[in-house]
Symmetry: C2
Subunit: 276 residues, 2 copies
Amino acid sequence: MSSGLRLAELGELGLLAELERRGLAVRIENDAAELPGGRVVTQDALVEGVHFRLDWLSWRDLGFRAAAVNLSDLAASGAEPDGLVVSLAARSDTAVADVVELYEGFAEAGVPVIGGDTSASERLVLSVTALGRSRRVPGRGGAQPGDVLVVTGALGAAGAAFREERYIRPPLRLEEGRRLARKAHALIDVSDGLARDAGHIAARSGCRLVIDLERVPIAEGAAVEDLAFGEDYELLAAVPEPDGFVEIGRCEDGEGIALLLHGEPYELPGYIHFRA
Amino acid sequence: MSSGLRLAELGELGLLAELERRGLAVRIENDAAELPGGRVVTQDALVEGVHFRLDWLSWRDLGFRAAAVNLSDLAASGAEPDGLVVSLAARSDTAVADVVELYEGFAEAGVPVIGGDTSASERLVLSVTALGRSRRVPGRGGAQPGDVLVVTGALGAAGAAFREERYIRPPLRLEEGRRLARKAHALIDVSDGLARDAGHIAARSGCRLVIDLERVPIAEGAAVEDLAFGEDYELLAAVPEPDGFVEIGRCEDGEGIALLLHGEPYELPGYIHFRA
């Protein structure tokens, strides 16, 4: 192993800055890659034992989940989906009925599987690319003082389910994403936890995000601590006006984020990529 | 685990047929997915311990390899690449210098990284989507009796290297792919082994592929058995005329493939997805 700085010390945004400075990559922190002509692409790999456990969810739920986490990135780009490309690597003694269920789970997400590949592997690996088109991708860098922060639904359900050693189906917020994308100054899906994802917007936009925790809708069975878990896949947007969405805070001059509970600072355990 | 038929019994093509019959997926056996407007998309996930070992190759070679195996699928689609979307999941104690080397390896493949994501994971997972445009994707289903079979370069090098517990850099055949795609009736990259990939064309085209093994260019240090290993990433095409490429066989009426060595049938150990 090389000596020197570790990812944990540099952090995700630091790594991105380093790669961009060297001309090795661009925009690798966004929810989706943008190509000319309004094309939007997003991808994720789900690896057995790393991202999911088959004793916690069914094959059908796994398929839905693999589709939904990618479609969530399209939603955060205000995109209309075109299709999914799915690569499946599975053990050769996998039951065909299970694989059919997996693809039925994909179908339940409502976007067709238009290509992909299958191969043999000791460990189940599902790679999904979602393709779509967007008229306007707000990104994370445009939030400004005076904006209000809104969310598309209740948070914390994924964290609560995880404590019970199960997963729940992520919501599909494609329509809400397209509606928000028309006017939002910044738009992101809540996959890393509310504080962390708000932090992405604050860092990229160069302003301070203040969240009033008592206004955040909490899913049934969840507690405020579950907001730190992430994987809720609701959308968080900085917008000039709430426009019918639930307002949970605002954008101010400054930097970083402030979590307040009835006006008092509140510490939420944060999940930060590459940091302990 | 469910009872009933296993993937090993159904095989890769059988699984595809079953999913297509149920309307759950289309074209998941092709090298790349096609979208309206000549857009072509391909993806692969490389998982540490499944697809590579870091004691066998450097971070830079891993980056090049992850780019090259995807670009090979674009080459087999006759496509001009637009960019790569790269998602990296790595341990938080990974050295930043190693990650920079990884992305330098991507850069050496000559196609820019235009998006992606990073996250923390105990096991290194690299997901790559390659995006491009093609005027004509030959696919695998158009080979016809009278066609000749050609390859773009020597085979067997990857298998020979693997015996020495190392990997070699796959070739990039994008230009050859575009040249072949203009007229080829079928085009594929040799990733599963010559016999297996020729078998894909035979099965999809409904004809018989005959290969004269003594005409197949064998890489230095490799033996004819190494043709079964795959991962050579040269292109195999069924074309009306060789057009300067190396001719190794022909397409006839019938089905399946025939491997001949100086006119005598020759048994090559085959690598077949999902089959023991």
